[in-house]
């Protein structure tokens, strides 16, 4: 059986891993390579590295660490942040990243998704969606890396998710902004709504605080994986224990310990 994936997300700023609450007040949580190795050793199924400043500053993600990660770890990883051209993507994939994730640049120019997937294959093109619930509707936000530049896009979340699938995305990471950093659980309602509207894998992001939150999202939705950052960085949740707990609750898991 295909397992559910546990995906630590490492927000990268100036070559360090940082984490803030609801995208703000970033604080340093460690060295990229050390954390990557630790998560690979602990049984993480995949890693996401996200340069949280790149997209809104109009500069591309600092790439020197990507090759080092590729040399170091033997699990897949995805790089996100400010990828604006085929050439940006090519450099990152050639350095050894398995996937690239685009967000704001895809909202600016949706055809970019098609160009990427036709060049590199659907399987390595992830689209990140930052979504906020407003009066019962889900709206896609843009430039969320910088609170001063964050704007509401013209897209409804479900509509945008379907569009990116049509355009050639191989996977969607849905960050539910209302829940992000709150540690109150994933947004099951929104995740269900989006997964039911698409046929590519959906990864949940935003809201993990306790082991039960992972069980809830895997038991009650059809999503493929759950992403989290602070609960792993702080060691509040240890990945081997989390995976064992989920396995014991009949969630398909890859155990390495």
């Amino acid at each position: 059986m295909l397992t559910k994936r546990i995906i630590p997300c490492l927000d990268v700023k100036d070559g360090r891993v940082v984490k803030g609450t609801q995208f703000r007040n970033h604080r340093d949580v460690g060295d990229i390579l050390e954390l990557a190795q630790r998560y690979a050793d602990e049984g993480a199924d995949e890693l996401v590295f996200y340069d949280i400043t790149a997209s809104s500053d109009g500069r591309v993600v600092d790439k020197s660490w990507i090759g080092k990660i590729a040399q170091l770890i033997n699990i897949p990883f995805c790089v996100a942040g400010g990828i604006r051209s085929i050439e940006d993507a090519r450099i990152i994939l050639n350095d050894g990243a398995d996937k690239i994730s685009v967000n704001s640049p895809a909202l600016e120019r949706p055809d970019f998704i098609t160009e990427l997937s036709e060049t590199f294959g659907t399987q390595c093109i992830v689209v990140g969606i930052d979504s906020r619930e407003e009066n019962g509707a889900y709206k896609v936000y843009q430039y969320t890396g910088d609170e001063h530049k964050t704007i509401k896009s013209k897209f409804d979340t479900v509509e945008w998710a379907q569009k990116v699938e049509r355009l050639g995305a191989g996977e969607i990471v849905l960050n539910c902004m209302n829940n992000d950093g709150m540690r109150q659980g994933y947004d099951l309602k929104q995740l269900t709504k989006v997964q039911e509207a698409i046929t590519i894998p959906l990864i949940a992001s935003g809201g993990a605080g306790h082991e039960e939150n992972f069980l809830d999202v895997f038991k009650n939705t059809k999503i493929s994986g759950a992403l989290a950052a602070s609960v792993f960085h702080s060691r509040q949740i240890a990945i081997p224990e989390l995976k064992l707990y989920l396995k014991n609750h009949n969630i398909e898991m890859r155990l390495t310990h």
Binding site: M1, L2, T3, K4, R5, A40, D45, E46, G67, A70, Q71, N74, I75, P76, R90, L93, N94, D95, G96, D98, T119, F120, G121, T122, Q123, C124, G170, E171, T199, I200, P201, K222, S224, G225, R254, T256
Partner: protein, 201 residues
């Protein structure tokens, strides 16, 4: 075989070549990224990586005039992911003719499956004994990413299930293929690569 075998990684212009190269490096082996026929012919081991579409990869192999060279290799060859699919006869993906080393066709996942690509870790049942399975526990998890598949046939030596059963590892004569990414499949993936490089195939 010498203690440091020569390993040619065929440069098909695809994107996962660095991760294959680094995976060999972690095992203490140096791969040579090449599209040079002589380097490929003379290597102890040949790896055919590949991501992207079958059509784009075959176009690259034709442009580099490597189709005949690969078909006639006699040393152990391993195709990875799309590289495995290229060993077959034909792919439904953009109606593409492949290398025709294994006489069967690559097809799409069944329409009844809710979510495609098949992306993530899935367990593989070992169907035969093979030197590449040395120290690989049956039902180990490997990392897959694909939208097309090789059906189960007499060439299938490892089998996976997503909706239906399909080929996870294939072997015909000196040609091997993994639908998953051994270079990204943790310890067991590294062991498969090590068996392929160092084993008595």
């Amino acid at each position: 075989m010498p203690s440091q075998p020569t390993i040619a990684i065929i440069d098909s212009g695809c994107a996962n070549i660095a991760s294959v190269f680094y995976a060999l490096k972690r095992l203490g082996h140096e791969g040579t990224l090449t599209s040079d026929k002589d380097v490929i012919k003379n290597a102890n081991r040949v790896i055919l990586p590949g991501v992207g579409t079958a059509r784009a990869a075959m176009k690259q192999l034709h442009e580099r005039d490597l189709v005949n060279t690969i078909q006639n290799l006699t040393q152990p060859v391993m195709g990875i992911c799309l590289g495995m699919q290229l060993l077959f006869q034909h792919s439904e993906e953009l109606d593409t003719d492949l290398l025709n080393i294994i006489p069967a066709n690559i097809v799409k996942f069944n329409k009844d499956i809710d979510i495609v690509p098949h992306m993530g870790w899935n367990n593989v049942s070992l169907k035969t004994s093979s030197p590449v399975f040395n120290k690989i526990p049956d039902e180990s998890y490997f990392y897959f990413v694909h939208s097309y598949l090789a059906p189960v046939g007499d060439y299938t030596i490892g089998e996976c299930t997503y909706g239906n059963k399909f080929s996870a590892i294939v072997n015909r004569d000196n040609f091997y293929g993994c639908q998953f990414h051994p270079e990204r499949s943790g310890e067991v993936g590294a062991t498969i690569l090590q068996n392929f490089i160092e084993g008595g195939l």
